[in-house]
């Protein structure tokens, strides 16, 4: 059971207040009509799904209703940081010396 820091409420809350919302930092192509079906499929369905450090989105569903980002280890479930939408992570796989 995770304990997650909501960067908007600025405190730790129980996992049950949140819902996970998948990989973070996926940007919708600006020109959907001009890209190939493969590129479109990649945007729609293909995911990093890393074993280790992961940047993912969560929604503070029972709290402030804001989406935000979480950097979490998918094996130990340790959360390194949470940060607001539009911000970049401080902890990344390359910084951690992992691949």
């Amino acid at each position: 059971m995770l304990l997650i820091h909501c960067p908007y409420c600025e405190e730790m809350r129980e996992e049950e207040e949140f819902s996970p919302a998948g990989q973070a930092h996926i940007e919708r192509p600006l020109n959907p009509e001009e890209i190939s079906d493969e590129q479109w499929a990649h945007y729609l369905f293909f995911r990093k799904n890393p074993r280790g450090l992961h940047h993912e989105m969560w929604l503070h569903a029972a709290g402030c209703r804001k989406y935000f980002n979480v950097t979490r280890n998918t094996v130990t479930y340790e959360i390194m940081e949470t940060y607001k939408m539009g911000q970049e992570p401080n902890v990344t796989a390359s910084k951690e010396g992992q691949s």
């Binding site: 990093k48 799904n49 074993r51 992961h54």
Partner: protein
């Protein structure tokens, strides 16, 4: 292969069971194999077995980083059924179910495949429409199925709360009589023993760390025991498929999630069929040892930790009590988790890739166990012929670009 039988047991008991043969050997990796299969779970072992048996390819290594059958094969709730909705999925699962029906004899290993039937309960009008639709489709596809009324459900499972006072009263169910459960470990061991007997090398404690390629084709795998050259590499790594894909710079349309299951303490037999409910969100059967074997939904986050969150256990047990109020004083003995790789359409990927000689069988999500023989069978064909088995064709990775998804979320239902 040493034949197993009741007579054999008697014979060996006279020599204090000192002379049983090894079920499989513990070979040193060869330098080269025709096919290297990454992942020694049920699917990987079945693939090796069918490659050897049906396609005459016996120079095969199954490379397993832990022990055989130690991943999701060892962690599921053992349900086998084929009552899926769409033609593509139901044909594949039915192919598998048919293989299950003769598998113990074929492998000379008792898999305890018990066709005790599966009930999928309906609690809303839409549940019942979906059940009608699915059962009708199943019947016209040659798969057994029936729609039961509440009264028929009650008669079949007297301890189920079918009263109108339930929070979500039971309105009926689908029933597949040929469905049931099997002994999960036995499936892996049975395939492993048979594959070993056909000359397949089972390399346990061997972890793949890289895949070597040249000119767009695979050359072999790097492992903790050195490089192993191979003409073809088949990845059957379930929850870890994305990790393997990353070795060749691929991403897959997968997310790996924790899937939890749990068992009660052993009870005297009280439940003779499998009861599943998507709406109340839980399912239960009783094993031959007497445990209630209970499953739940996946945890929503990505997780490779083979454990999930406690609230899923709480909700699942509440669901079981909602269905079976008399289990309230029964006690939970153990809960655990697997890592399931889920696809956006709740259907698997059985596919060639853009890299020559590299194949993937993954994305089974919560439904992999029941497909073990079928998946191995069609995947072996796909590898051997370098073209998809007709039943595997719809499950190509290309479907995500073409849009030919096979959305089985409804029939896949609660994770199992």
């Amino acid at each position: 292969m040493q034949q197993y039988s009741g007579f054999g047991l008697l014979k060996h008991s006279l020599s204090y069971h000192e002379n049983w043969q090894r079920v499989w050997s513990n070979p040193t990796p060869k330098k080269h194999y025709d096919v290297v299969i990454i992942g020694g779970g049920g699917h990987g072992l079945a693939t090796a077995y069918y490659l050897a048996k049906e396609h005459g390819i016996t120079n095969i290594a199954v490379v397993e980083k832990g022990y055989l059958g130690g991943g999701n094969t060892a962690r599921n709730t053992t349900i086998v059924r084929s009552n899926y909705l769409w033609d593509e999925a139901s044909h594949l699962y039915e192919h598998s179910l048919k293989l299950w029906e003769g598998l113990a004899q074929e492998l000379n290993y008792n898999l305890m495949f018990s066709q005790r039937g599966v009930l999928n309960l309906g609690h809303t009008l839409q549940d019942m429409r979906d059940i009608e639709r699915r059962v009708n489709a199943n019947r016209l596809n040659g798969i057994d199925g029936e729609v039961l009324t509440t009264a028929q459900v009650q008669e079949m499972v007297p301890i189920l709360d079918c009263s109108k006072g339930a929070r979500f009263p039971v309105m009926g169910a689908s029933w597949q009589a040929r469905a049931g459960t099997a002994r999960h470990d036995a499936v892996a061991w049975g395939f492993a023993r048979a594959a070993d007997a056909l000359g397949v090398d089972l390399l346990q404690q061997t972890e793949v760390t890289g895949i070597r390629r040249k000119d767009g084709a695979v050359e072999g795998v790097e492992t903790n025991r050195g490089f192993i050259s191979a003409n073809k590499v088949a990845c059957v790594a379930a929850g870890n498929s994305s990790v393997i894909a990353k070795m060749v710079g691929m991403e897959l349309p997968l997310e790996s999630h924790p899937l939890q299951a749990m068992v009660s303490e052993p009870l005297k037999p009280i439940l003779n069929t499998v009861v599943m409910s998507n709406h109340v969100h839980g399912y239960v059967s009783q094993s031959d040892k007497g445990d209630l074997v209970i499953g739940a939904g996946i945890d929503g986050y990505t997780g490779y930790g083979q454990r999930g969150s406690f609230n899923v256990v709480e909700h699942t047990i509440a669901a079981i009590i909602e269905m079976f109020p008399i289990f309230s004083r029964v006690r939970l003995n153990r809960a655990w988790g697997g890592i399931v790789d889920t696809c956006p359409d709740a259907c698997p990927i059985i596919s060639k890739t853009h890299i020559k000689g590299l194949y993937f069988n993954c994305g089974w999500g919560t439904g992999g166990f029941k497909a073990t023989p079928g998946a191995g069978h069609v995947f072996a064909h796909t590898i051997a012929k370098d073209e998809p088995h007709p039943l595997a064709k719809p499950f190509s990775i290309d479907r995500f670009s073409s849009g030919e998804l096979i959305d089985e979320h409804g029939a896949a239902g609660v994770a199992h």
